[in-house]
Subunit: 379 residues, 2 copies
């Protein structure tokens, strides 16, 4: 077995995810609640069907989902808030929670406030310039639009562009947060720059900005990958102090990088598949880098079978590309029994990704003319 899992210690912060991720440990440390069968049934009452990311534990934990469903059932609708710090290209790991967020928007007919904190990476990356961020911002917006969010119900919020709405509110947040608090939550120190220190205030604002603009307290649900949790733990602490509901949240695990199930797919690594990759690039990357749970020889594989649980290609199918439970189960069993070879499994994934990207790239092209609709709030 080619398994070579990294042994280094797990690290999960908004700026660094590394090591083998122990989700049970994160649940305990971050204090989130597991999504259980009862909650899934309750969601299903409203959505009729369950998204495969829920059934398969890709979205695995939450805070106050029962509360927000109570409110929803009382007719007190919620809005969704998520975001993307523009920098570099969008990869499949970014797409995963957005695909789920679109499902939530459709099923609950919810507004989505999508933040592009264009100062974040600028502040945290020594050599990054605002001009570079600006290019990524435009590029990243196309990917978000191509996900298919409802333009009539989706609001893009760009920190430096909408600062006249956001900065004052961020100051209200900032007044409630001390340096000690961010030091502990984000691993900042005395050599951190004062923009990094202030930044979390801006990430808190979209959780209550719609309430301000509409002059009423509106429940907020935040879907995000678990590494963003330190921000939203603070957000939950602060909002009641400003007179708003504590936002509910739902967390997903990380789509692994091509080279193994440790850490997360990252823009800065070669082991990522970007939304703009060509079919040939996808094929080459999967064939060359996708970590395999197969055996060293075909003979051995046929005899002993592979391990889909550590096989990156299988995980991509499970987490993002094979919505059909029956088909997924079949692949799982065939691979585990040795009937399916790694090369065959990879070919299934390559076709799935390329079909997905073909459609995504088509919508991405159309998105160029739609940016205005998402930035224009007079819906």
């Amino acid at each position: 077995m080619k398994e070579k899992r990294e042994k280094k210690e797990m690290k999960v912060t908004p700026w660094n995810v590394s090591g083998k991720i122990d989700y049970e440990k994160l649940i305990r440390e971050f204090g989130v609640s597991k999504i259980n069968e009862e909650l899934l049934e309750r969601i299903k009452k409203h959505t009729k069907e369950l998204h495969f990311m829920l059934k398969r534990n890709v979205f695995f934990s939450h805070r106050d989902l029962n509360w927000i469903l109570n409110e929803y059932e009382k007719g007190n609708k919620f809005f969704l808030y998520t975001g993307r710090a523009p920098s570099g290209k969008v990869h499949l790991g970014h797409m995963m929670p957005w695909v789920f967020t679109k499902w939530l928007q459709d099923k609950f007919n919810a507004e989505l406030w999508f933040q592009f904190p264009d100062e974040e990476k600028f502040l945290f990356k020594q050599d990054l310039k605002f001009d570079d961020v600006q290019k990524s911002l435009k590029d990243n917006m196309l990917d978000v639009i191509a996900v298919g969010f409802n333009p009539k119900k989706t609001y893009f919020l760009v920190d430096t562009v909408h600062a006249n709405l956001m900065y004052k509110e961020a100051c209200k947040v900032a007044k409630k947060i001390t340096f000690s608090m961010v030091k502990a939550s984000f691993g900042l120190n005395e050599n951190s720059n004062i923009g990094e220190i202030f930044y979390t205030s801006m990430q808190t604002v979209p959780a209550f900005l719609p309430s301000i603009l509409k002059k009423k307290n509106i429940p907020c649900l935040i879907p995000y990958a678990i590494d963003q949790d330190p921000h939203f733990r603070l957000t939950r602490d602060i909002l009641p102090k400003l007179g708003y509901y504590k936002p509910a949240s739902i967390q997903c695990s990380f789509l692994p990088p091509l080279n193994g199930v440790s850490g997360k797919m990252s823009s800065s690594e070669q082991y990522s598949i970007f939304t703009t990759d060509s079919p040939k690039e996808v094929e080459t990357k999967i064939k060359k880098y996708a970590f395999s749970g197969g055996r060293d020889s075909i003979e051995e594989h046929r005899k002993k079978g592979g391990n889909p649980d550590i096989d990156v290609s299988f995980q991509y199918l499970r987490m993002l590309f094979e919505p059909n439970d029956e088909k997924l189960k079949k692949i799982y069993e065939e691979y585990k029994s040795g009937t399916m070879l790694t090369s065959e499994l990879k070919m299934i994934l390559i076709e799935k990704i390329n079909a997905f990207l073909k459609e995504h790239q088509r919508k991405r092209k159309l998105a160029e003319k739609q940016v205005g609709k998402f930035l224009n709030w007079d819906k």
Copy 2:
């Protein structure tokens, strides 16, 4: 002699001025340069006459004034930048540097960028609300306009209103400043809120915002009371790193509070004269509270004379209300010799202040219709 100078240690930060002010010590500690005769002569070449605040050492120190005059002489004009953190009412201590700044604007035909950092006091004062600040902001703007700045050349910059222009630039500044730096400069600590920590970035922005908007590097001259120096020392460190000129600056001493020549006039104390005070209020305050350099009895005063150097009424005349050097000298000598009694000196001051405030209040009333001109930048 009724002298009861405070013995407590001098403290001068942007948020606290107390104790007997030792300007020689501030010059050494802050590293500013004294304004000497040679520099005064050089200024006079351009202004024809010297403002009494220069001649009398009210504006007593500077940084790089020679450089900015070099640039001016080469035809590279400078803009002025000063400001007011809105909170409470404007008093005579605030007016002093603005009166001088207007003179600079007139003599050098310079643009003035006047910042109203409406988040500053909100962030630094526990119980202050933005609504309170908003009231002060409107009120304080009237006083600034009533000073007589040229509406065609004066730009009001309100941090939360112009955040769409300022926040991004503030992030560029913030990236160059660590927590250690603000800790040392402003006496902040781990319990400081992250808005306080970030704030100085916003105070730096007006020193280069005009350069950004006009797409060329423009020299900047900042007149201010010496307690703001920690902000502008940082500003001078940062601007060259962002590709702009190091701003020049000129510092004034503090108009003392009514009760003695220690500390500075402060909005939070009873020992202040506000721009909206009635003639009766002014008379009462001066008669009741203005610390006197006179003797205990009229007989003793006639015999030994008073001390104008510690007499608050005389200092107000010297610093703000008696531009005529001859008249001031006469008052000084008569008071020192005992010819002039404290009651007579106070009456001269009361008349001066009330004449000033009558005119100021008239202009303040007219200013209500002019705010738009100062907030509208399409001159």
